[in-house]
Symmetry: C2
Subunit: 410 residues, 2 copies
């Protein structure tokens, strides 16, 4: 576009919300503010669906205090969608951009979003319509390629870390077995976060199962029993996406055809199937080995609260805002496009920088946990993971340890 021309901008959020997703679109808004190149900044309600239907809100009309309230709140005030547009719909998106004079585009989302953006961008190039289009990263799953971590992960990981500190202290009160299922279909970063508050060997979770390693039922039951037998308790964290050695969801193994929806897919989130199914197996196993005892065994599915509880990691909120600002800065700097990424600098002090990479490097791909984050047995995370994750979740209250000076019995 001509150096003197003014164009409109659009920002939208897609996929599963995070506790800090609002910070990213507010960051875009802040980054564009005052530029003579930018006319109006619009927000599409419900992602691409809102673009197609021209369901667009004028973001320049928002008050500063209203925006700050959004930044502090979980979930997207612009709503979201999981709809993957067809080629025809992508053409429609481009048509709306033309009609509304939009040349600055900021899509905040995960790997599905980056793929959609990639398609729209290629269509714009083919039509010779100049777009400065950016993918702004977001996902609690932390599974985007090219990123050290993603905005949203730190806050969700903070919730999981603190939730497991709490349930582990709770389990310690009674003894017995506790299992909690965490979100994460393909990557175990979130279940791994359950280990962040551990201070020594006695602290749970004592076992962590992630989708990056095959889940073998017999080995699992033996692992659990061995710890319970030795210490009187066992706390277990499990990713919802764990798979059998032949790559079937474990939930399918537990439920058979029963657990599938009308499309033949297994519904992982929003159901207690996996936690209840695994706990039933554990109970049977323990009952066989200790037929006379009644073992306390409880299971939770952490559910949607993982991604929506209002307990943000401050560093996560800051970075979520900065990736939005960075995308805006890039958009104003020249005719470029791409995916914003977070890179971590080497060195003792935690420090990140933002870089733009080719959309094709991120689009539709899934990053999984590196091998050095998972122990050799495949049933726990390593200190390397905890060291990596610790700076992302913000300040944590210490886990208390009572000095146990026992009274002599009389």
């Amino acid at each position: 576009m001509k150096a003197t021309a003014k164009a409109n901008a659009i920002v939208f959020t897609q996929g599963g919300p995070t506790p800090v997703i609002n910070a990213s679109w507010v960051g875009v808004l802040e980054g564009l503010k005052g530029s003579s190149r930018v006319g109006r900044v619009m927000g599409a309600m419900n992602g691409v669906d809102g673009i197609i239907k021209q369901n667009l809100v004028d973001l320049t009309a928002q008050s500063a205090s209203g925006l700050e309230q959004c930044v502090l709140a979980p979930a997207s005030a612009l709503y979201t969608t999981r709809h993957k547009p067809s080629d025809e719909e992508c053409a429609k998106v481009l048509d709306v951009f033309r009609r509304q004079g939009i040349r600055f585009v900021f899509g905040i989302g995960g790997n599905d979003t980056s793929e959609t953006l990639h398609i729209v961008n290629e269509a714009a190039k083919a039509a010779n319509y100049e777009l400065r289009l950016f993918h702004v990263p977001k996902t609690i799953d932390c599974d985007l390629m090219e990123n050290d971590h993603t905005p949203g992960y730190g806050s969700a990981a903070r919730f999981v870390a603190r939730a497991f500190m709490g349930v582990d202290l709770d389990n310690q009160c009674f003894g017995g077995i506790y299992l909690g299922v965490c979100m994460g279909r393909h990557a175990g970063f979130l279940a791994a976060a359950s280990a962040i508050c551990r201070q020594d060997e006695a602290d749970g979770p004592h076992l962590v199962y992630v989708p990056e390693r095959p889940f073998e039922m017999e080995k699992f039951l033996a692992d659990v029993y061995s710890i319970y037998d030795r210490t009187g308790r066992c706390v277990i964290a499990v990713s919802e996406g764990i798979e059998t050695p032949d790559h079937k969801p474990v939930l399918e193994l537990l439920q058979g055809e029963q657990g599938k929806d009308s499309h033949g897919n297994v519904q992982l989130s929003g159901s207690g199937g996996l936690s209840d199914g695994l706990m039933a197996r554990i109970k049977d196993h323990v009952a066989k080995l200790r037929p006379k005892e009644k073992t306390r065994a409880r299971a939770d599915t952490l559910g949607y609260i993982q991604r929506s509880y209002p307990d943000q990691s401050e560093v996560d909120r800051k970075e979520a805002r900065e990736v939005g600002r960075f995308a805006a800065k890039m958009a104003l700097s020249g005719d470029i496009d791409g995916s914003v990424t977070i890179k971590r600098d080497e060195g003792k002090r935690y420090k990140v920088r933002y870089e733009l990479v080719d959309l094709a490097l991120v689009a539709g791909k899934t990053r999984r946990m590196p091998s050095n984050f998972i122990n050799a047995e495949g049933n726990n995370v390593t200190q390397a993971f905890v060291d990596w994750a610790r700076p992302l979740v913000g300040p944590l209250s210490p886990r208390p340890k009572l000095k146990m000076k026992m009274m002599p019995p009389k």
Copy 2:
């Protein structure tokens, strides 16, 4: 006991832990400190089990900073038990008190604990063994007689209130139906707390079901569909203890014999059975009325995190400490015993006072939600409930509302 005699003291915690239960035993310790009447202060590990086994820890050996860490952490650092001692075991408890020179007794717990304490106290009186025995209230369920509310409730209610604000904002992003099951077997106070962050009619939860009102499946399905049909979404909070009009657990209605454990009891907590079962009924109902649509429907069971997430209500922590201190003060004031209660003063400003009541008034009884806290239809809470509950949960972040100035379509 003689005015010059010195005696030992014991404190212990029982039943389900709360996020502030440590504050109460630390409060007892603080209240006894410096008294010439008190020798050693012991903590029994795992409640009465620890007394019977003489598994007693010397609490005078704890550092001030260590105690302060306990106060800030959820669950009991003295562990706990659900074991209800037999008459024989109660006699054994009294025997240990004699052997260890204990005359000051502080049991922190709910209605089961108060019952146990009542039995021990009567046995001591019969044996002419002077005890200054106190029940210190604690329960996230808020179901103790004679109390305006109980220590532990404010923090658990804070979690439920914030969790529902989060999941409601999350649900708003996509639309559809969300159901969350809260703890509470006989009283609905905790499920009711889901409504505390609502700001207007549009905010969820849109329906709240408590054990105080009969649950009728057909009415429930019609309620949910009516809101979903009108607004495109519906968020529902449900107490785990909801019952059918003929007083059977709803979970039993959903699962039949399947859901019962080996003792023939329905396991309410630590299972996704109720949320999944109710959501399956909702899905069937909506599918019948809208056969061509795929409705987004998700359910969570909030689980053990409700009582163990480290997000204390400050006022709750303060009161939990003060009931402990008050019990200690009473114990030092003369030969008395009883149950500490929290009374709320009338008036605009939130203010409480602590009073000692006869153990028999609290022991083994259950308080339920007053009628003016539940709406006439029995499917929601009233503003009177929110006004009562609001001061108990501490400061809440506001729920953001975006100004929706729409762009004209082109």
